[in-house]
Symmetry: C2
Subunit: 306 residues, 2 copies
Amino acid sequence: MRALKEMSTTTNLTLDEFSQLCIPRLEKVYDFYLRDTPALALKNTMEYTLQNSGKRIRPLLIYATGRIFDAPLENSDLPACAVELIHTYSLIHDDLPCMDNADLRRGKPACHKVYGEGMAVLAGDALHTLAMQIIASYPAPLKSQRRLDMIATLSAACGPFGMAAGQALDLSIMSDKNISLDLLENIHRLKTGALLSACVELGRLSSNDDDELHQQSLKQFGDRIGLAFQIQDDILDMEANTELLGKPQGIDVKNSKCTYPLLYGLNQAKEKVQSLYHDALDAINMFGHQAQLLRELTGCLLQRKR
Amino acid sequence: MRALKEMSTTTNLTLDEFSQLCIPRLEKVYDFYLRDTPALALKNTMEYTLQNSGKRIRPLLIYATGRIFDAPLENSDLPACAVELIHTYSLIHDDLPCMDNADLRRGKPACHKVYGEGMAVLAGDALHTLAMQIIASYPAPLKSQRRLDMIATLSAACGPFGMAAGQALDLSIMSDKNISLDLLENIHRLKTGALLSACVELGRLSSNDDDELHQQSLKQFGDRIGLAFQIQDDILDMEANTELLGKPQGIDVKNSKCTYPLLYGLNQAKEKVQSLYHDALDAINMFGHQAQLLRELTGCLLQRKR
């Protein structure tokens, strides 16, 4: 890990330094909107889960990919903030009693446990809309067509052709232990992979890059880390304890949810993760030193313990 | 009413004929997407409430406003479909037990009563995203900046500065009978008015019109009909029986929700509605015969019984 965090030749920043530079930028974007929201209770509900921040992996994927193509940070701010809002809305809705019924999120009471289910549904909806509003209208030196491409990419990834479809399939087959590997991987790709993969494309769209080969390589990279990420989640869920993970351990087992490690065992699942990250790194070889931050971030994802 | 439905000088179509021309067009747009959704259960859930169609008032406002400026129907198709999807998502989420807890919608079981609460939340989310995806990517002879303006207008109207804020305020003050007229009107404007008002602007954005005075007049028109519409809803809710309205009569009274007719009485509420429609029609006087379809539609809204 130490080697992975050495000074990047692209920006002369370590991944930690880069993260400390970027994350406050995206938070500034949503603060700009939230401070003027006319409904105080809604604002508080939205902020509660936003401020109970995770690792901001998705925005970092966008910023780090943008660096490959020397994208201005002002451009990456828009999709970085939008994706974090989309991710946050999905967590709030996921935790509802009618979905995963989770009382804890990142070690704190889930949104609906604090503000009630109705306000949690509305806060999720409002974050969802705000994400699109930000890409459409926040000031940045981005061409209109580029903003539209971002909205098309993001909506394809989180709507009925991506995340929402994955969650629906997940909900439908929740108690079915006999599903095929193909179906399970398809659900993972839709539910978690699509949004993570979109981040990489959104990073590229923050720049002027128009090279199809670049797009394809990043798509391959995004696809691999997306699938790996969900399998890791399921491994961690089996292994971790409640304190470390911030949600009740084994919630998926309790809900009888079908997962990769449950179907194939922990060892095979871990090998799969290693192999997917290996393939992901291969896919971005072509970008050389320019991709150093993205490579470091990939290394951190591979090592993650929560 | 008969006089209002005479042949329009703009298009030589009555409002009924115009409606029969336009509505199948917007349905074709969402069908194009829904047929390829990878999750069958999600598709069915989304289609259930979409097909249990209401009067499609919002899309008609878009198409009719577009006709003032000779906007191609292909351009209006995008926001017309998007707004209907947004409206449908809001109905699905509104009916949930944690919100209005309504068992019936337009005389049929509410979405969550048929498909379960989890799938209803997801279907609402998926319709929400799809609306943005359609404006960003469905083929039409629309400039990129115009599409972006549409997304900015729509998201401002339905997110934390519009509909979602109105619903949150509504939820917060649900049982408070002592709220001011200003607050009540503000909630109405946000909850119902913002989206209706956005329709008029979206109709204008379907054309090449760039006249600020046009925009302001339409904004005034939209504001008036938006507020009138919500007060009418509350009047109808007090008056109508379950069969006619398609939802249990007096659900707002049962939930102790504060409404205009509850605060000021039926008569004063009806006068307010008349006066608002009068002001609305005044605001579009400048468009002459070009606004005939919009005027007919306004007349229908004034007369509506459900």
